[in-house]
């Protein structure tokens, strides 16, 4: 018995249409259920006091202000370090590298770095930044680990952006007698900025969500970090501790909702940027 004979092609087309539509609906439902549940359970906990006060009794009461500051701190450090490195690498790839083997090798390197599990970054952060470099459990160690994780995203997105810049731009610049460097800094980079910003926001979205990579580098202090060498506790780590140590379910929901709202804002702004950029490039 041939399976294909069971139904006529037209019937199986109809059946499959339903299955395909269902797959889309299921995917959408998964997102709605998770987002909806966390936000609905979390919103009642969120108010100005929750956002702007320090936790009391190790997070049972009070707010998450020090965690918001820690998250901002480590994420900004990560972006400040990873952006020049990632963009520099992308410029090298699109403007200088000629050896195809080298190009492939560098891309493979970025892919590998992007695929290393965050817990390995966590161990490396502990062994390298905290112990070997002697930075200790601090915002700086956490930010440095996140910078390494953010690097491949910024590099990959910037490379795609730079290679999509029309060569007529460059030719025009060379035709006016500009040097290669002048062309890169005055023509190529300005045109690529929206794309690069998109890459940076994508990287930030990941960095701000990361807990496993920083849990052994950043310490886990409940105090507001002031200097780079103070320990801190970013939001995802706080959520992890609240949930697994059963400290406060209510505050855990609140923290989770805050995290999700941040990620949603970042995702929406990436999309708006990409859309504007595409319109501009297409000349519409």
């Amino acid at each position: 018995m041939n399976f294909r004979r069971l139904w006529s092609p037209k019937t199986s087309q109809k059946i499959m249409n339903v299955v395909f539509v269902l797959s889309g609906i299921v995917t959408l439902l998964i997102l709605i259920i998770i987002l909806g549940y966390v936000i609905i359970r979390g919103l009642p906990a969120i108010n100005l006091e929750f956002l702007f006060t320090s936790p009391l009794e190790s997070g049972k009461e009070g707010g998450i202000f020090p965690m918001i500051i820690s998250s901002l701190y480590v994420t900004i450090i990560a972006a400040l370090i990873a952006t020049p490195l990632g963009v520099g690498a992308a410029i090298y790839m699109s403007e200088y590298a000629k050896n195809q083997k080298l190009i492939k090798f560098i891309r493979f390197g970025a892919e590998t770095l992007a695929s290393i599990p965050s817990i390995i970054f966590g161990l490396f952060g502990l062994a390298f930044f905290v112990v070997f470099m002697g930075i200790g459990w601090s915002i700086l160690s956490g930010g440095l680990v996140l910078a390494l994780m953010a690097l491949p995203t910024i590099f990959q997105v910037s490379e795609v952006t730079l290679s999509s810049i029309p060569s007529s731009y460059k030719e025009g610049s060379y035709g006016l007698g500009a040097t290669k460097l002048q062309t890169i800094f005055n023509v190529v980079l300005p045109a690529a900025i929206p794309g690069i910003i998109t890459g940076v926001i994508l990287a930030i979205t990941r960095a701000i969500s990361e807990a496993a990579a920083v849990m052994y580098a950043v310490g886990s202090s409940l105090a507001i970090p002031i200097s780079l060498f103070d320990p801190g506790r970013p939001l995802p780590l706080h959520l992890y501790i609240l949930a697994t140590e059963g400290i406060s379910l209510e505050n855990a929901y609140g923290t989770a909702a805050v995290l999700i709202i941040i990620v949603l804002i970042l995702t929406v702004s990436t999309n708006i940027l990409v859309e504007n950029y595409q319109k501009k490039i297409m000349g519409k």
Binding site: F20, G24, G109, A110, I119, F132, L239
Partner: protein, 292 residues
């Protein structure tokens, strides 16, 4: 004039260093992880470490094989759930759905990819664990629960990379198939799927990598007992969770053995990447990173 030349030269070299920086980092990570793991390998023996069934740090027993099996179990079960759904969804978005639906679903996939893994774990802990406990018995902390969460987490990876693969199938293939009177489903099944298969395999491998490497979401729902599970509703401990659970208080050889666990994890990831790269090169495709 000369100074300008020197400047250009220096900047080119500087940019070159940023370009190979990723590779420098990878080697630094590798060296540090291996160095910290070495005492465990030397004292305990690499093969005994990798294939030993007993993990009891108090008695200086460091066999990680049960954890390797644990990682394989949860990843395999997660794939069984995620692959069919994500392939259907990828084909739906590329070949079936009207443009408006596609534009609507794209941010949905992006958002799924953007949800922090701790939030997934927290959702699993507060929602899925009680549900599994009620309907399937046991504590609710199980291989099944962990795979369910992992399946959702790898959906966006598999969907978006498969979409790239489907998109890169030449239009002529489809047109020829339609021209012969095939239906859409026949074209997808007999023409597009085989042509996109290498890319789809790459997508699945990237999904495997993500599932094997996930830590905190799994810790929160897997129960973390070191044992060979008897059923999918038994608790399990994976390689990643072993590290995260015990690193906080490990000292001496125990500390080294946890780095050893990371080395095993590293080796698995590198093997997966090499396979993915081999497939890509062999079939002459370029799938952009899977990050977008």
């Amino acid at each position: 004039m000369n100074r300008e030349k020197i400047n250009e030269f220096l900047i080119e070299k500087g940019l070159f260093i940023t370009a190979i920086f990723s590779i420098i980092i990878i080697f630094t990570i590798l060296i540090f992880i291996v160095m910290e793991a070495l005492p465990a390998f030397q004292e305990y023996g690499f093969f005994r470490f990798m294939f030993g069934m007993e993990w009891s740090p108090n008695d200086d027993n460091f066999g990680v094989f049960t954890m390797i099996l644990g990682s394989i179990f949860v990843t395999f079960l997660a794939l069984m759930m995620a692959v069919p759904l994500s392939l259907l969804c990828a084909f739906f978005m590329e070949e079936i759905a009207p443009n408006k639906v596609k534009i609507f679903l794209k941010p949905v996939i992006q958002t799924l990819a953007g949800i922090p893994s701790v939030v997934y774990g927290f959702f699993g802990l507060t929602v899925l664990v009680p549900l599994v406990r009620e309907y399937f018995g046991g504590t609710g902390f199980s291989i099944f629960t962990a795979s369910l969460i992992l399946a959702v987490m790898i959906l966006p990876t598999i969907i978006s990379v498969s979409q790239d693969a489907i998109k890169s199938v030449p239009h002529d293939f489809k047109e020829a198939s339609f021209g012969l009177g095939s239906t859409n489903w026949q074209t997808i099944r007999l023409i597009i799927f085989p042509a996109a298969l290498p890319g789809i395999v790459t997508a699945i491998i990237l999904g495997i990598g993500r599932a094997i490497g996930e830590t905190l979401a799994v810790i929160m729902v897997a129960g973390n007992v070191v044992q060979i599970p008897g059923s999918i509703f038994d608790p399990v401990r994976t390689l990643t969770t072993n590290i995260a659970l015990e690193m906080g208080y490990a000292t001496g050889l125990h500390y080294n053995a946890l780095f050893g666990t990371a080395v095993i994890l590293f080796i698995i990831i590198i093997i997966l990447l090499i396979i993915a790269n081999y497939i890509q090169n062999k079939h002459g495709m370029d799938i952009g990173g899977g990050t977008l």
